[in-house]
């Protein structure tokens, strides 16, 4: 006697296939909901910004008059901020990763540091804002200047860079290190000539993705006290500044008073999205172009 009765199988086949179809469509729906929301958002933003993005908008200073207002201040502020964040995260992030992967003895201390780095990556950005306020703005009395904002932002994205750089360094095969050591190279020579060149694409990808996160962050900067309305352009890392996402934030709030501010916010969002898109494209380009196969 057979245990599987083909008549029964036949009978149930219809409902099985139906469930099969249903499952597929449920997951398709889940995917589409996210996509549709994104498309709607982008459509609204673009629709609101039409006619507002022009040369003057990009080059004018901030103004209370919507017709004259531009985001030159926010763009320069963002650029100065990145000029602080990029080198600081690159140095601290890669340095930490090299230490943890190449020098630190695998043990309790190393795994304790490792766990905490992973935890730091999950700390809400506003908490980093408080850290920046306590340490940089008030602690060493920098005030709400680019340097203070940049250092705060660096700490915020540091865990991401460390983890990305660690993964890139770990992916460098041990046999390449052995080849270098086998010829009498010191550890530093091996790291400098073999490990870092091989890990560089991964490291740069991580850094660029971290920078694009820093460009979009708002919360920590509001906490350290970036002003809502700042007309002069920052001239260096010791100047007061504002950035694009903050400008978006304040215009969105004030849209209740002046309706055109909503259009300005939308226009700024478009510029910000373009910058982020560009940065992600560079990250992907670097990854594909310099990726080595071992």
């Amino acid at each position: 006697m057979k245990y599987i009765d083909s008549a029964q199988v036949e009978k149930k086949m219809g409902s099985r296939l139906l469930k099969n179809m249903f499952a597929k469509n449920i997951f398709l729906l889940a995917t589409l909901i996210g996509l549709v929301v994104l498309v709607v958002l982008i459509y609204r933003v673009f629709a609101d910004s039409i006619g507002w993005i022009d040369f003057n908008f990009l080059t004018n200073k901030l103004s209370t008059d919507p017709e004259k207002a531009g985001i030159m201040g926010a763009i320069t502020g963002t650029l100065w901020l990145m000029l602080v964040v990029a080198p600081v995260t690159l140095f601290l992030g890669v340095g930490t990763a090299i230490y943890l992967e190449e020098y630190a003895k695998k043990g309790k201390l190393q795994s304790f540091i490792q766990t905490n780095i992973s935890n730091l990556a999950g700390v809400p950005s506003i908490v980093f804002g408080l850290l920046g306020l306590t340490v940089f703005v008030r602690g060493i009395s920098l005030g709400a200047i680019v340097l203070a904002g940049g250092l705060t932002m660096s700490l915020l994205v540091l865990p991401v860079v460390v983890v990305a750089a660690q993964e890139a360094i770990r992916a460098v095969p041990q046999y390449l290190r052995e080849a270098s050591y086998g010829m009498g190279a010191t550890k530093w020579q091996t790291i400098k000539n073999v490990v870092l060149p091989a890990a560089l694409p991964g490291i740069l990808t991580g850094v660029i993705l971290a920078l694009s996160r820093a460009i979009g962050e708002t919360a920590p900067l509001t906490v350290i006290g970036i002003p809502a309305l700042l007309i002069p352009l920052p001239d260096g890392i010791f100047d007061k500044f504002t950035v694009m996402p903050l400008q978006i934030y304040y215009w969105t709030i004030d849209a209740a008073l002046v309706a055109e501010y909503a259009n300005l916010a939308a226009a700024t969002i478009v510029i910000l999205l373009l910058v982020l898109f560009l940065m992600n494209s560079i990250a992907i380009f670097i990854r594909n172009k310099f990726q080595q196969r071992f």
Partner: protein, 278 residues
């Protein structure tokens, strides 16, 4: 320095271990002399009381089943084994009469004299030229003309110059496995070593590439002392002057190659080389 040593006539009753076992010993210099060498990976006692004398301008083969400690042994000779954190070593390893386990002996210095070719070809993902120039560069040579000369000499020494001389700036990963391994050998020659350690250098290669490496070894022993770990007993028989048979971390027998393969004195050696285990 090199003394003609014809081991083929050497079949008669010799003791099987230590230097008493060899004929014509007098004139050859020792390169390595291990004394009661013990090594542990954590609690695992991987090398037990190894006492081996290794002579210059000879090929010394290390044979034995997997896990017998033969790779560990040669990696101890250039202290590469220390890359594994849980390793403990006791005893002495004299290289040219200096103890390499001594704190004052810098590993960087040791590895400049004792080069290594690994099991799997491991060129750097750099150009052929930069692969060879790597060693000289880390030892401070910057002069382009000198580097050029070293690159050519090393590639010729590893019998790969003619195959790569027109594409020195191409990535080494474009070479075949056998070519990559000869490139690695050339890279090793570029640091002008005294001893070359080879850890199963042909196990990842096809028979023709293997033959080329074997021929090279014969050529290179005129200038270098070579210690080669091999799984392949025919290879040990073909290319080596002396053979050490390792089993469970101990040296069971160490004597002239043609003696060990014709009249091994230990039953376990005989069982191994006749294929009864391993």
């Amino acid at each position: 320095m090199a003394v003609i040593t014809d081991f083929s006539k050497n079949q008669v009753g010799l003791k099987n271990q230590g230097k008493e076992g060899f004929e014509n010993m007098t004139a050859k210099n020792l390169v390595f002399d291990t004394k009661d060498l013990n090594l542990w990976y954590g609690d695992d006692h991987a090398l037990k009381n190894i006492n081996l004398d290794i002579y210059e301008n000879e090929v010394t083969a290390i044979i034995g089943p997997s896990g017998c400690g033969k790779s560990t042994f040669i990696k101890t000779l250039n202290r590469m084994v220390e890359l594994i954190p849980v390793v403990r070593i006791s005893g002495d390893i004299l290289y040219r009469e200096r103890n390499i386990l001594d704190k004052s002996f810098k590993v960087e210095d040791l590895r400049t004299h004792v080069g290594m070719v690994f099991q799997k070809p491991n060129p750097f993902p750099k150009s052929i030229y930069d692969n060879i120039a790597y060693g000289p560069r880390i030892h401070g040579i910057k002069n382009k003309k000198i580097l050029d000369e070293i690159v050519e000499k090393s590639l010729r020494g590893a019998a790969i110059w003619d195959e790569v001389k027109d594409r020195l700036n191409e990535n080494a990963y474009g070479l075949s496995g056998g070519q990559q391994q000869r490139l690695c050998l050339a890279r090793c020659l570029a640091i002008e070593p005294d001893v070359i350690l080879m850890d199963e250098p042909t196990s990842a290669l096809d028979p023709i590439s293997t033959l080329k490496i074997e021929e090279l070894v014969q050529e290179l022993k005129k200038e270098y002392s070579i210690i080669i770990v091999t799984h392949n007993m025919q290879q040990a028989a073909r290319i080596s002057d002396k053979t050490a048979f390792f089993l469970n971390g101990e040296v069971v027998e160490y004597t002239d190659t043609n003696k060990i393969f014709s009249t091994p004195s230990d039953k376990r050696t005989e069982d191994y080389i006749t294929g009864r285990f391993g």
